[in-house]
Symmetry: none
Subunit: 207 residues, 4 copies
């Protein structure tokens, strides 16, 4: 009798919503914000145009949501990887491992965050700036620790973190263009870790 809400229906709705967001991430990642059309997204999600507007208020809002969620997921994974280790070399390596994993298994995430639609969507500017800031912070915090422990010589840790973040992004973006990224992953991580440790003049001095 009547209609039972918050049962299967609820779950199904959430599932569809999620499916549509997945589809949207891929479309946005591939085409960029402006070139991606609502039709592209609903086609990818295999629903009608109206369905899009049932779940999301408009293209821009969806994109910003998506960017936020994606950034949150990405930064969370990175942060957790870094915090799971206690010494700088392992922290950097673990962070890079997490980064590379995402890049390989969810390339759209990286595409969206690094290429996406920056410069296009005004309301995205802040989101993007905030993302860069948090990303840089993830790398900077271990550097500050290391500075405190005298494991790296005095230096502008902020600028170093910017440089590392930029370096990592670029190398991993190139890794993604490789025909078989997975085969290169381990080596890339090792090299980048060494590159980073040398760049900040790390030495396991202390103790």
């Amino acid at each position: 009798m009547a209609y039972r809400s918050s049962d299967k229906t609820r779950r199904k709705k959430d599932a569809k919503r999620t499916a549509m967001m997945q589809a949207a991430v891929h479309v946005f990642a591939e085409k960029g914000y402006h070139a991606a059309t609502i039709r592209d997204i609903v086609t990818a999600a295999d629903v009608a145009i109206g369905t899009f507007y049932f779940y999301f208020p408009d293209k821009e809002t969806l994109f910003v949501h998506l960017y936020e969620e994606t950034a949150h997921f990405f930064l969370g994974a990175l942060q957790q990887a870094v915090l799971s280790r206690r010494v700088l070399p392992e922290q950097i390596q673990a962070g890079l491992q997490a980064y590379v994993n995402i890049a390989i298994y969810e390339p759209a995430v990286v595409q969206l965050l690094l290429v996406g639609g920056v410069g296009s969507v005004p309301s995205l500017m802040e989101q993007h700036a905030a993302f860069r800031e948090r990303l840089i912070n993830i790398w900077q915090r271990p550097l500050n620790e290391a500075l405190l422990h005298g494991q790296i010589p005095p230096q502008n840790s902020r600028r170093a973190a910017e440089a590392l973040a930029g370096a990592f992004d670029e190398v991993i973006l190139h890794l993604l263009n490789h025909p078989d990224p997975a085969s290169e992953a381990a080596e890339t991580i090792t090299e980048l870790t060494r590159f980073a440790l040398r760049a900040i003049a790390y030495s396991e001095s202390s103790k």
Copy 2:
């Protein structure tokens, strides 16, 4: 007198064409490829829409031309700066100096070249990829030299060059966001140079 026609007419024509390209650089840099409209460009150049189509076949072609020219100018300046020095530290520093100069005095150039979000337009993606490739080469060549001379230990110079390019881009992009970039320029260059030299384990060994 191998010089071509070049009377007033030609000069005027070139002047108008140049004005439009100048305007276009700024418009594209500010809004990104898709959000920039032909009307934006001709308004900035103070000509009529029809005039645009007299000089350029279409929007995409203009952008490609523009990107090529801008990349050529930028890479040329960088390359020249690097080649004007003989030892690695100076090469890197000179290159960074050139990069920073352009970033400060022609920020639109840097914005245009680094702006992403041109996904789904093949010809634009190619241009961007080609630019990255050439940029990385500029940094890689001195590294290869240094490798040959034993000034840096064996390493994947290609990957190192990628990392350096990414690091430089990121730091300089942040420098541009600074309220008074010029005041920070010298220090940034010094730091980045040291960062780079450490990263590739440079030592002035030889001779």
Copy 3:
């Protein structure tokens, strides 16, 4: 016991149907036919969209039903007021009193009936025309009576009724815009009655 089924079920059904029509009157009155959406109506009635289509075949049909019912109620009240009196001045005054009462206590009814802007939807235009016709008739009938009794001089009673109807509508619409319509009601009715009696050159001649 000629009464039909009428158990709880029927009453509940009618209740819901009625709630939706009530809501619809207000929504249509406020926004006009085109701007009012089904969602507006079901939201106001606190039912689901599907429920709307269980009770009504479509938007247009609902509006027509609604308009008919509302017109029927309105005209009925007016007619009854007029017929409850035997002499023209009292008939006009009673009619106006009924009109003003509805306007003040059910402004949506008046809004709905007088709202135009339903051009291009034939069935709605018909309804509106029919309503005007019946309204004019209500005023015209007493005039014809008065003509017969020689209480008003020969005149085109149809045209006079149109004029009176228009005059009454306009003044009452303005009354509704007044901050406190009720306080002005009595005076307005008196004035309008006198206006009308003078306009048709009424004199209590006979007997």
Copy 4:
């Protein structure tokens, strides 16, 4: 050489703009604001959709403009007619004559003002209220004069003007529905004038 602006071009542009506004008046008058589509308008004007947006910013702005202009034209004609006479009966008659002329020869004007899209377009509400106000003023001013000269007994001239305005509108709207309005015009005007003079208890007393 080059392009000569503000010549034939200018005139042509204005002509086309006017033609489009004419077309729009008719479409809006016939269908009402919401039901009228841009396509309807451009089809009536025999231009492409884009052309509409070259001349007007959007549908709503055009409609409001149109309403304003139309109201200005209508009220101007009425006002002038009324002011061209010195005694009340003639003023009313001349005003009605002008009104009827417009109604017959430019029925769309009357449709737009009286039926148009009231209640639909929020930004139109004020325009419509202002129009009613000015219309009522046109009738009220002669009444005030007559009051001053003792040609009509003390009465609320404002309310009387509202009533007259409403009466005139209604009768003329019905006149327009007549198969051959022109044939009825003279009689209608005469009757309405008498109706009005009686309603306000006019007598040529004074002097």
